[in-house]
Symmetry: C2
Subunit: 334 residues, 2 copies
């Protein structure tokens, strides 16, 4: 099942691989005899060889291939595509790329390989990195000398386009909304909280709102694990079992909030009567939830489209696009 390559054409025509390449690409600087050109073209026809983009990539140094590098929950694990955030992002990114003649390659980093190596060996024309906070990775990406868009990524290095939302403000908006409803004891369910990153900033927003109301963020009310449906369920059941339950929960992602609501429901705790829940993302899941989830809306598709546009427009002025957040009131807060 091997398709004929440049090498096979060269062998059949009795010329060098370079000569075949010159004929295919019609390289003006090379003067080839009419007889050689005919021999190569005959061999191409005979073998059914089709020049591919790899050849053009080499000659023009342009692959028309963009990479979307997506975090894994852990190294060597699957991508986080079960979170609809990534599906919405990818649909829009792929569509925007396709309309301009680009394709999208998706990848987590292989164990022991960095994102930069993946981008380099693939000759990617540009890279979109989602949710990366590793300064060393950023430094390596910068050295690639190709356009890079950091999406929802917090690393200190400069020299990248950025697409994000104001995560601190989002956490603040969500928590303040609960406080304004008279809810005081507020838990925060989130993913891993490091020194920076989306989860950290949403947590800081939560903390800021509490402080405005003269409260501080209690460690016992910070439930930090994995951004997954399963962890949400687990935390719902955990909160349901507490003697002194919080009155409200700010959850950093809808997929987690959905699990939380189901975990609470399974233990007989009613949302919003017994406990109020506010999510983040406004994905399809927020409508699926019963009651429908009050949540912080972000336009994930617009972020995906914008990230691709920044790469293919070859805008050399670095852009920092911060997309707006709005609060969508539904039925999960009393």
């Amino acid at each position: 099942m091997k398709r004929p390559g440049l090498k096979d054409v060269a062998e059949l025509a009795g010329v060098s691989i370079a000569t075949v390449s010159y004929v295919i690409n019609n390289t003006p600087s090379q003067s080839l005899s009419a007889e050689t050109i005919k021999r190569v073209n005959d061999a191409i026809r005979e073998l059914g060889y089709i020049p591919n983009l790899a050849a053009r990539t080499l000659v023009n140094n342009k692959s028309n291939l963009l990479g979307v590098l997506i975090p894994q929950t852990e190294s060597g694990k699957e991508l986080m595509f079960s979170n609809p955030f990534y599906g919405d992002f990818m649909s829009a990114a792929e569509y925007t790329a396709r309309k301009s003649g680009y394709h999208i390659m998706i990848s987590g980093a292989e164990s022991g390989r960095t994102y930069a190596e993946v981008a380099r060996t693939r000759g990617l024309d540009g890279v979109i990195v989602v949710g990366m906070n590793d300064d060393e990775e950023c430094r390596q990406l910068k050295n690639l000398n190709i356009p890079v868009v950091l999406v929802d990524s917090y690393c200190e290095a400069s020299g990248f386009h950025r697409v994000s939302v104001d995560d601190l403000q989002g956490g603040y908006m969500a928590t303040k909304y609960l406080l304004e409803k008279g809810i005081r004891k507020i838990a925060h369910v989130t993913g891993h909280v490091n020194d920076s990153g989306v989860n950290f900033l949403r947590y800081k927003g939560y903390e800021k709102a509490l402080q405005e109301y003269g409260m501080s963020a209690a460690k016992s009310l910070l439930l930090s694990g994995e951004v997954s449906f399963e962890y949400g369920c687990e935390m719902g059941e955990y909160l349901a079992g507490l003697d002194e339950r919080p009155e409200g929960v700010f959850v950093c992602a809808d997929i987690l909030a959905l699990g939380l609501c189901i975990g609470l429901r399974e233990k007989g705790v009613s949302v919003p009567k017994d406990i109020s829940v506010i999510g983040f993302d406004d994905s399809l899941l927020s409508k699926a939830c019963d009651p429908p989830l009050t949540t912080i809306h972000q336009d994930v598709a617009a972020k995906g489209a914008e990230a691709v546009k920044l790469l293919i427009n070859e805008n050399h002025t670095l852009q920092n696009r911060v997309f707006p957040l709005t609060l969508v009131e539904r039925g999960s807060v009393r």
Copy 2:
């Protein structure tokens, strides 16, 4: 922001592009002088040139790039990633590919271009096509002479690996389950039903079960549109408004069933008290639904992993993998 290419190295070293390629790939058939090799290597170092996979693709005719070609709802539209089916499939496919040193390129077909053209121009080592029933597209893919895995695809051409479930059996199981529960008037909500394909076969299974009970499939009970959350909501509201509502609904996908349940709920119709609903897929959404959805389970991740394995194991014997279906009882059928 242009990175140095083969051409730049050749120019600086004062040799041909082919010579640079011979040095990089250490081509044994080419005898090059030590001086030439040094000149090329010096130029590579000076420019910071990094050989990329495009070069290896040309020489070895192997890209280590696999394509996943995914249907669009309509030509020129976004991919159907909002359906968690695709997220689950892609996560497993990407992970399986990555472990073996392959990357995944995703694409819908560009307007006016076929899947085969995309695969050919990209020099893909193999192609996974999800949900394709176009015989002409299949014929073109076959001519590529690279391994192709058809997933959930029904076209008549032979010569492909296939990964699927028994869709007719699935439709039959779901409908028979409702019938065995004493439910008689059963609607079917599905995507576009053509002469073949997943939706057609699930419909045939629905019809077969009805016939076993001496009934036929009424046209008025076949609601066929788009496999989307929104169409599900619409159909839920539509069914809720009927004077003579069906007692049960077999829905061809969980994302559609979830919308249906929400549409029914919004119009005050209770599942399963007033109407029973059974879905298909057993995605995350079936657990999100209230009540949790009784559904036909398929292992979407296993299908994604298997499709990639069939491509990279270079198994020349064509495989036809039919994954099992099981019925998962939850709370949406009375």
